[in-house]
């Protein structure tokens, strides 16, 4: 699903791409994704899932074993990396150590040949864009990690690519700088209007930056959706569990009638969940920890189960409460510490865990 208000064709179209490495390792299996022009698109997955391989296929450093990649309407199968309308920010930044900052940024403009008169102005413009104006004469050894990354960004953006590829660009930065750079990258993308494709294993990074996220696991594409959709409506157990925290329950499908799905959950008994269409076969149910509330009495208007508090983990803005029922079912509830008083009071003993039936997710995969 590509949402483009102007009805333009997708800038990137990945059609049934598979990749096997010598030795029989299948890195990617039948991946199809379309990315709209101007989108901030994230490839998200645990390390080793194949997301970097997919990015390297887009850059031209790997060739797909099967399938085709179209960028800007052209089939890229036989196009070398230096002739593709894409540029990349590498995980190690790969800033040339024997060149100054300005020489690094100018490299892509010089190496292609052609008119050289406009190069200094374009380099200066690119350095201003990443807020490194005046750093042109420095050597990369004199820069901090964050500055080095800006050089890598400027070097890629100065070529005005159709697509900018970013391979784990924030993984080498410390936590505070990482958060600042997330906002910076979004600002940059809005300024230049270039399509960004970013690879990350950090779900927070993907959720806070991307317009759409593709979740990849063991070379398979599990779900492509907006951050909100991905978090609130994951379609598979893996996505539900990988993005954020999740309470997962397994159960037997008792059937769907009148817009209500009845499930016999192991250890908790029958649950009635609103559903839209008929669902058959075994299902999993899932509830986010922050959708659950703790009560000292049984509430009437929601699903509620009595449980014992096992452990409490105070985390500043929220407190995570771990509970279990007599039948061995575990809950994790996240309580927002909206006031100092609330933070100081911690649940203990026997309480009721409750949530709205509408906040229950139905997982079929």
């Amino acid at each position: 699903m590509v949402r483009d208000p102007h009805g333009r064709p997708p800038i990137i179209s990945i059609n049934g791409v598979s990749k096997s490495f010598p030795g029989g390792v299948q890195a990617l299996a039948d991946i199809s994704i379309e990315v709209a022009e101007g989108e901030f698109f994230a490839l998200l997955g645990p390390s080793g899932c194949g997301k970097t391989t997919l990015l390297r296929i887009l850059a031209g450093f790997e060739t797909p074993s099967k399938g085709d990649v179209f960028i800007d309407g052209r089939n890229m199968s036989r196009v070398a990396p230096n002739h593709r309308p894409v540029n990349m920010v590498f995980q190690s930044y790969a800033v040339f150590p024997h060149m100054t900052v300005a020489e690094n940024v100018a490299y892509g403009l010089k190496v292609g040949g052609g008119d050289r008169s406009g190069i200094p102005a374009r380099v200066e413009e690119a350095l201003e864009l990443v807020r490194l104006a005046g750093y042109g004469d420095r050597s990369p050894q004199q820069l901090s990690g964050g500055q080095t990354q800006r050089v890598a960004l400027a070097r890629a953006l100065v070529k005005k690519p159709r697509v900018l590829l970013l391979d784990e660009p924030l993984s080498a930065l410390d936590a505070k700088l990482r958060e600042a750079m997330q906002l910076e990258l979004v600002r940059l993308q809005e300024t230049v209007g270039i399509t960004f494709v970013i690879v990350t294993h950090d779900q927070n990074e993907a959720l806070s930056m991307a317009d759409r996220i593709a979740v990849i696991e063991q070379g398979r594409l599990l779900q492509v959706a907006s951050p909100l959709e991905l978090y609130e409506y994951p379609t598979s157990r893996f996505v539900a569990d990988f993005i954020g925290k999740m309470n997962l329950f397994e159960g037997t499908n008792l059937g769907c009638a009148g817009g209500v799905l009845s499930v016999n959950v192991n250890g908790l008994g029958r649950m009635d969940i609103p559903c839209e269409d008929n669902i058959e076969g075994d299902v999993g149910l899932a509830v986010r920890p922050e959708k659950m509330l703790l009560y000292d009495h049984r509430p009437d208007d929601r699903l509620a189960y009595e449980a014992i508090v096992d452990k409490i983990a105070y985390q500043g803005s929220e407190t995570r409460v771990f509970l279990s029922t007599g039948d061995g079912i575990n809950f994790e509830v996240s309580v927002r510490n909206a006031s100092r008083r609330a933070a100081a009071e911690s649940a203990s003993g026997s309480v009721w865990v409750a949530w709205h039936p509408a906040d229950t997710l139905i997982l079929r995969d």
Partner: protein, 275 residues
């Protein structure tokens, strides 16, 4: 108080026994060389007693045509074999670093064979080889140095390859990919990224090859003819009669040239790094 405190990492130089071993090492390394240089200025036919300062043995060495010829031969061979070894060694290092091919492990082993084979065996093998293929003997200078030069290249380039390979092992392949990504062709990314990265290794390997070639005796002895005497071979034939200050003088000039070239190379390398 400070006497009792354990020494810090940089304090060991203050310990007497450590200073002693430091100076002893210097003495063993450089005393013979200093002696050689000093006695090249000695006004005596024997290298034993100091009789006063003179430059006449330098003049004598300069006027000794066969010594100068040997000297020229050595330098010519060293220069040609260094250039060839650097190019060949670099290509071998890049080949072994970048590519996987059947028989790579045996190839790698075979490549370092000239380093481990005893020189005397190399010398005999070279002599037998050039005799067997009928290498022409009476070519005009400098073509008559061909056999020696080839022999020198064959034992020098593995050293260059080893030095460059060791440096390449720490190369970040993303640098080359970044160049390709920015529009460089294979050749441009090699020229702009890989070559500057290898440069210190090439300079070090080149220096190694130059010194190896300049002072090689054994292999040269077996591959040289009566017309192609190199400096070490010539010195050997001269000291069979007597060690004259003339030999000292010629050796001092050789040391000076080597030091000069090394300094130039290091200076070039420093300049390339700081700019």
């Amino acid at each position: 108080m400070s006497r009792r405190a354990p020494p810090g990492p940089l304090d060991y130089g203050r310990r007497l026994w450590l200073r002693f071993s430091l100076w002893a090492t210097f003495l063993f390394l450089y005393a013979p060389i200093l002696m050689l240089v000093a006695f090249s200025f000695n006004d005596s036919r024997r290298n034993i007693v100091w009789r006063g300062f003179t430059l006449k043995y330098y003049e004598k060495a300069w006027n000794n045509d066969s010594l100068i010829e040997a000297f020229t031969n050595s330098l010519t061979i060293a220069l040609v074999s260094t250039v060839a070894s650097v190019i060949l060694g670099m290509m071998t290092a890049v080949l072994l670093w970048r590519f996987r091919f059947p028989g790579k492990a045996p190839y790698e082993g075979a490549m370092s064979l000239p380093i481990i084979i005893p020189e005397i065996c190399m010398g005999v093998a070279m002599m037998a080889f050039f005799a067997r293929i009928g290498w022409p003997a009476n070519l005009p200078w400098p073509l008559n140095l061909g056999a020696i030069t080839i022999a020198h290249i064959s034992f020098s380039f593995p050293f260059v390859a080893m030095v460059v390979r060791a440096r390449l092992a720490r190369f970040n392949p993303e640098l080359e990919e970044a160049a390709r990504d920015l529009g460089a062709s294979q050749w441009q990314s090699f020229r702009d990224v890989l070559l500057p990265y290898m440069r210190p290794g090439l300079v070090a390997g080149g220096l190694l090859a130059f010194t190896l070639s300049l002072d090689d005796f054994v292999i040269t002895f077996f591959t040289s003819g009566p017309e192609t005497v190199t400096f070490p071979v010539k010195v050997y034939s001269m000291i069979r009669f007597s060690v004259t200050p003339e030999v000292n003088a010629a050796s001092t000039v050789l040391i000076a040239i080597t030091l000069f070239l090394t300094t130039i190379a290091l200076w070039l390398q420093n300049r390339a790094q700081s700019s």
